[in-house]
């Protein structure tokens, strides 16, 4: 048997190998994530249009101050807040409730669970199109059923100020409630059975078992689910694009959609970057609130 050959590969130390694997990954991340982040942050302080050959001109906080002075930008933030609040609350309540129902043995449980989870697997654009057809004022099946069963006159779900935002909420709830179901089920299945058995021996009420056994166990994972959904709801774009297209007026132009319009319809690249950073700061602040709560729950 010959000895180990003195090749280049054999001379690489463990630490060297570590760097060999890490450096390309870091370089890739720097190029694809960190550089665009820094560049877009710089552009947010510039007067710049990506549609022209002109270089960015540094204008300080002008883009930010402009955005904060626009009443319609505030209206878009309010609409975004309403959407996030309503969508996440409904998804949470529905998702957790359905998970509670599914967290027991019964015939057809697996098929039912799969069916409940299906909506999450569809492309949001496809779902948006489906809902656009279903919620159509004149030939949508929703108005047809409401009219046939209850005699309710045609509702302009996606084209009236009263209902357009709710049509987005309904669509988002349909798509993402399964996510809440999945995470809630994961949390619920982690609660030890013997705790419930002990509570039964003590004749504890259903509410007592839920409040003092179930909730403490599932709270961390529910907080995580809420965190993910809140962050994601702030990025809600694709369904708006196909369902309401931002209308009526600009009432359903939530901030991500408006960022897109600023960037690619009006070519105010600097201003759109500034608005994207404002949104990012809001999402980070909200995430911190969740994370602090999560840490407190864990410590408790």
């Amino acid at each position: 048997m010959s000895g180990i050959q003195n090749t280049w590969a054999n001379r690489v130390t463990d630490r060297g190998m570590l760097y060999l694997f890490l450096i390309p990954t870091f370089a890739f991340l720097l190029f694809l994530v960190v550089f665009p982040l820094i560049w877009s942050l710089y552009l947010s302080f510039c007067d710049y249009s990506a549609n022209t050959a002109n270089s960015p001109v540094f204008v300080g906080v002008k883009n930010y101050s402009f955005l904060f002075q626009q009443e319609d930008v505030w209206e878009r933030f309010v609409a975004t807040g309403q959407f996030v609040l309503l969508a996440v609350i409904f998804e949470f309540i529905l998702g957790f409730s359905i998970a509670m129902l599914l967290n027991r043995e019964f015939f057809g449980k697996r098929i039912l669970t799969t069916l409940f989870i299906l909506p999450m697997m569809f492309s949001p654009v496809v779902v948006g199109k489906f809902f656009r057809f279903m919620l159509d004022t004149n030939w949508g099946i929703v108005n047809y059923i409401l009219g046939a069963l209850f005699g309710i006159p045609k509702i302009a779900w996606t084209t009236s100020y009263e209902y357009a935002l709710y049509s987005l909420v309904i669509t988002d709830v349909w798509i993402w409630t399964p996510f809440m179901i999945l995470l809630s089920l994961a949390g619920l299945s982690s609660v030890p059975r013997y705790l419930y058995e002990a509570a039964d021996v003590d004749r504890a009420s259903g509410w007592f078992k839920f409040r003092y056994i179930t909730l403490p166990y599932v709270a961390p994972i529910l907080t995580l689910a809420l965190l993910f959904r809140t962050m994601d709801a702030f990025r809600f774009f694709d369904v708006i694009y196909v369902l309401t297209e931002g209308g009526p007026g600009y009432s359903t132009q939530l901030v991500p959609y408006y960022i897109y319009k600023l960037a690619f319809s009006y070519w105010h690249t600097g201003r759109s970057c500034a608005l994207a950073y404002v949104l990012l700061i809001i999402v980070i602040a909200l995430s911190n609130i969740y994370i602090n709560y999560l840490n407190r729950v864990r410590r408790a």
């Binding site: 549609n51 045609k154 509702i155 996606t158 009236s160 100020y161 297209e245 009526p248 009432s251 009006y266």
Partner: protein, 436 residues
């Protein structure tokens, strides 16, 4: 064994290099346009071009709603997947300011006689800025805003008698916007699921409310701005502007409920399904209305121009044909443009039922037999008008469409809407540096 592997590798390498060299000699021009009947027709016609020149042509159709953003995102990246593009007339300024289109002025002056075309097509599809003598494209599709109406309703003797009794004049395609309102009112019968008129009301600058509203505004005698000073306040929102806004909001009661998001697809569907008695659209969309597979009323539809009022102006649609500044095949693309503008090709284009921009074709009586919309094209072309052809058009059009869309639903009064639009337009123009 090693020698065999080496030999096989060399053979593959040589074949690859030869194949690549052959592929490099073969030029394929890519044309991008919206995915609609004119695109299919153009690509089918281009087979003749390939037969003549050996240059292959392929189409890259994009759905209308994504068309603008897709091509301009590619422009912004400095590399395009297409060589030839047919941009909407109002996009020309935006594309030229970004240096995204090839300046073909010298070629244009040698090969194109502007007098062969209607003025508006040359000004709006080819020249930027207006009157500069700098050209970036050739006339492509001469589209325009027109109307379609249900002949089974309009020609029904009982309907005609009832209409005459109520309004005191004959029921026929509307010649004025006031008549359009009467007819729309007459046919609005929610109990029969029938509404008077379908209008583009979507809050979008292209393919939405702005397109149709402006034909109405101009025909009432309104104006968008002072083209010299670019001032808007006191012009757009003067008494006439506010009168038109009131008229437009009033007209909405005769449109199908929930139709504030109507654009090209929605209004076509409403007509195909018999929900409306008449509609406005860009008439290049007419094939879908006459397709028996799509339309329940395919044999009961005819076409007429958008109405007059105190004046007569029709909103220009259509596109010119330009070359991407990032195309590696500019010479071949110019050959295509030369082939495209030849009268023989334009005749074939017209015979296929498409709108030609050549006066000699449009004014030839044969042209009327090629498509039922051609009679409308002939009378509309002399009164075509386009809106702001400046890079800020998209933001200005969006502001107008969004605010008027809000007025339809009662968020603003028509007067408030026009005041607000004028104010916002001046803000946009101010920021863009038009007031110095």
């Amino acid at each position: 064994m090693r020698k065999s592997i080496l030999l096989i590798s060399v053979v593959f390498l040589v074949i690859g290099l030869i194949g690549d060299a052959i592929a490099q000699e073969e030029v394929t021009l890519t044309i991008t346009w919206a995915g609609w009947a004119p695109m299919d027709t153009l690509i089918a016609l281009a087979e003749d071009f390939t037969a003549q020149t050996g240059i292959k042509v392929k189409g890259d159709p994009i759905p209308w709603p994504q068309y603008h953003d897709k091509i301009f995102t590619e422009f912004a990246s400095g590399k395009t997947s297409f060589d030839i593009v047919l941009p909407d007339s109002q996009w020309l300024g935006e594309a030229v300011v970004g240096n995204h289109l090839v300046d073909i002025t010298d070629w244009f002056n040698q090969h194109v006689n502007p007098a062969d075309y209607y003025d508006t097509f040359v000004k709006s599809f080819c020249e930027y800025p207006d009157g500069s003598g700098k050209y970036y494209g050739v006339p492509g599709l001469g589209d325009f805003c027109g109307m379609a109406y249900r002949t089974d309703l309009f020609n029904d003797p009982a309907e005609q008698a009832a209409f005459k009794e109520k309004y005191g004049y004959d029921l026929k395609p509307p010649e004025t916007w006031s008549q359009l309102r009467d007819i729309a009112e007459f046919f609005t019968r929610p109990e029969q699921n029938l509404y008077g008129v379908g209008l583009w009301q979507a809050p979008m600058p292209s393919g939405g409310l702005t397109d149709v509203f402006l034909g109405c505004l101009w025909s009432f005698g309104g104006e968008l701005w002072d083209p010299e000073t670019k001032r808007v306040k006191g012009i757009l929102n003067n008494d006439i502007g506010k009168e038109v806004a009131r008229f437009w909001v009033d007209l909405y009661q005769f449109c199908p409920p929930g139709s504030t998001n109507y654009g090209m697809d929605e209004v076509n569907t409403a007509m195909q399904q018999g929900l409306i008695a008449m509609m406005t659209t860009y008439l290049a969309f007419y094939p879908g209305l006459l397709d028996p597979d799509l339309s329940l009323y395919w044999d009961k539809i005819d076409f007429c121009p958008t109405p007059k009022e105190r004046e007569w102006w029709v909103q220009l649609g259509g596109q010119g044909m330009s070359i991407s500044a990032y195309s590696p095949h500019k010479e071949e693309a110019l050959k295509f443009l030369e082939w495209w503008i030849s009268p023989e090709v334009q005749w074939k284009w017209a015979q296929a039922g498409m709108f030609s921009c050549l006066k000699s074709i449009v004014e030839d009586d044969q042209y009327l037999s090629f498509a039922p919309v051609n009679k409308v094209a002939r009378v509309s072309y002399p009164v075509l008008r386009d809106y702001w052809e400046i890079p800020e058009y998209n933001e200005m059009g969006t502001v107008m469409a969004e605010i008027l869309n809000g007025a339809l639903l009662g968020k603003y009064t028509p007067e408030e809407a026009m005041d607000l639009i004028a104010e916002r337009h001046e803000e946009i123009l101010e920021r863009a540096g038009y007031y110095k």
